[in-house]
Symmetry: C2
Subunit: 181 residues, 2 copies
Amino acid sequence: MLAAGVEAFAERGYHATTTRDIAARAGVSAGALYVHFRSKEELLHAICRRGHERALALVGEAVAGADGPEARLRAYVRTFTSWHAREHLVARVVQDELDALDPEHFAEVAARRRELEHLLRGIVEDGVAAGAFAVDDVPAVALAVLSLGIDVARWSPRSPGRSPEQVGDLYADLAVRMVRA
Amino acid sequence: MLAAGVEAFAERGYHATTTRDIAARAGVSAGALYVHFRSKEELLHAICRRGHERALALVGEAVAGADGPEARLRAYVRTFTSWHAREHLVARVVQDELDALDPEHFAEVAARRRELEHLLRGIVEDGVAAGAFAVDDVPAVALAVLSLGIDVARWSPRSPGRSPEQVGDLYADLAVRMVRA
């Protein structure tokens, strides 16, 4: 049902999709869908929450396995970017439809986004403190690195030919170039 | 009418918007709208065409006034990025709803996008030839620089505090770092 929601929202947008459309796509009755999600917004919330939790878990694991600011930055960007290339439908729904969430659901998802942002800022700040990176405006540069990874979900389906891992490696290099002293 | 279309598409998405919604927003009758645009798709096409023509004209002018690959790259990225921060509603509609265009309109807009891309690739290639830049995969890095500027239209309305010009200058620096030898 989540997969059907992702496909429907990605194809037509949240506001143009009905719970009936999603049930039909999932091959279940509207009643069966309703047992799990009382509204279209609840389904969107489940998609956004899972997407963020998954990205956060993968990035956290990758960073924990790397030593030093440059290796940690590479691990972060490679994992974050390749996730956006691989899960481009989920990622696009999450980015495009955030504003359709109820305020409390939006706040919960925004908290996950801040965790991702703080983890990245910490890596960049450590690199600056160690003299390996030279960055004047850490929040702005961290936002740019995240933005670069996020936008992969928009363009990568239109530009096949590179694997998610290849895009991840290339973007890890670009991120290091963006911050290196 | 174009402005009303941009607002309506940005708020609810193309598929959830009717020509009636747009006419009401513009304060005209559905008949008056129809005189100018025979369909919702024609209005979207006009928005996409104008947006691309405007961005292309501004970037072309900025690059023509700069000397040498680094100055030309800075001029390109500063202009492209600040346009996306300033015209974020138009830019988001253009990016998000491209797939809703008729095939011939899509092809026309795609041609403008290729012009923007080729201009940027040319600058990067000139820099590599001059030894000022070191880039292995010029098309991929040009795409990343464009992607970084485009995604500003998504995040900048949520992160106020920097002017379009400040974001443009910061991104020009980041782009130079991404390619510099």
